[in-house]
Symmetry: C2
């Protein structure tokens, strides 16, 4: 069953933007990487216009982080955040073989939640 | 150094679309999941209008797959592909606690490649 009930996007605006960050980790700096990545998530969450974030790192070193924002101005502001700039510079020097950052306007969305998850995590919530 | 030299997007159109698929794996069906996921990547790559795909699955079961397409028509066509529909139905029944699919228009892009990667993988290629 595909449903409009959503886990995390309740209250999000009708239109919003995604920043798709894909990266290949190099073999260096694991501890500092984890600390820096966690810190960036924390900082992003405190930014005006932040909606949410999903991040995954695989065993092969490929990482994908998608963050969601109300508008391009919020993204631009986060992009220029001093500590974020420093982390990206460190990332280029230490953490990544390559990365790519794409800003994209979300034009449609649909979702599925298994009944047992709806029942246990989000009872009776309707969009 | 941020560079316009790119690993995978040479020859991509100026404007294109991303399908951001984020999902939480349930605890069942690992073998069939891997087979099905690999098969979907293979099928997507054969679709008209397919540009590329990046996919990561984490130890916690969160998966993010971002695929890139020339236009919404190509995405709609892939969405209606019979084997893809069957795989999604199987995914809802077996593989996922939840998933979300967002279609987004990429409005800007920038990338970084470490010099040692440029030198070894993609010598002297300029955008």
């Amino acid at each position: 069953m595909v449903t409009d009930r959503t886990l995390k996007t309740n209250g999000w605006p009708e239109r919003y933007f995604a920043v798709i960050f894909t990266a290949q980790r190099s073999l260096s700096g694991d501890d500092i990487y984890d600390m820096t990545a966690d810190r960036m998530i924390l900082l992003a969450q405190r930014q005006p216009g932040f909606l949410g974030v999903e991040t995954v790192g695989g065993d092969d070193g490929l990482c994908i982080t998608v963050s969601y924002w109300v508008d391009p101005a919020a993204i631009a502001s986060w992009r220029k955040h001093a500590e974020h700039l420093a982390a990206k510079a460190l990332g280029r020097q230490e953490f990544y073989d390559w990365y790519r950052i794409r800003v994209a306007k979300v034009v449609s969305e649909r979702s599925f939640i298994a009944d047992h998850i709806v029942d246990t995590v989000e009872p009776q919530q309707n969009a």
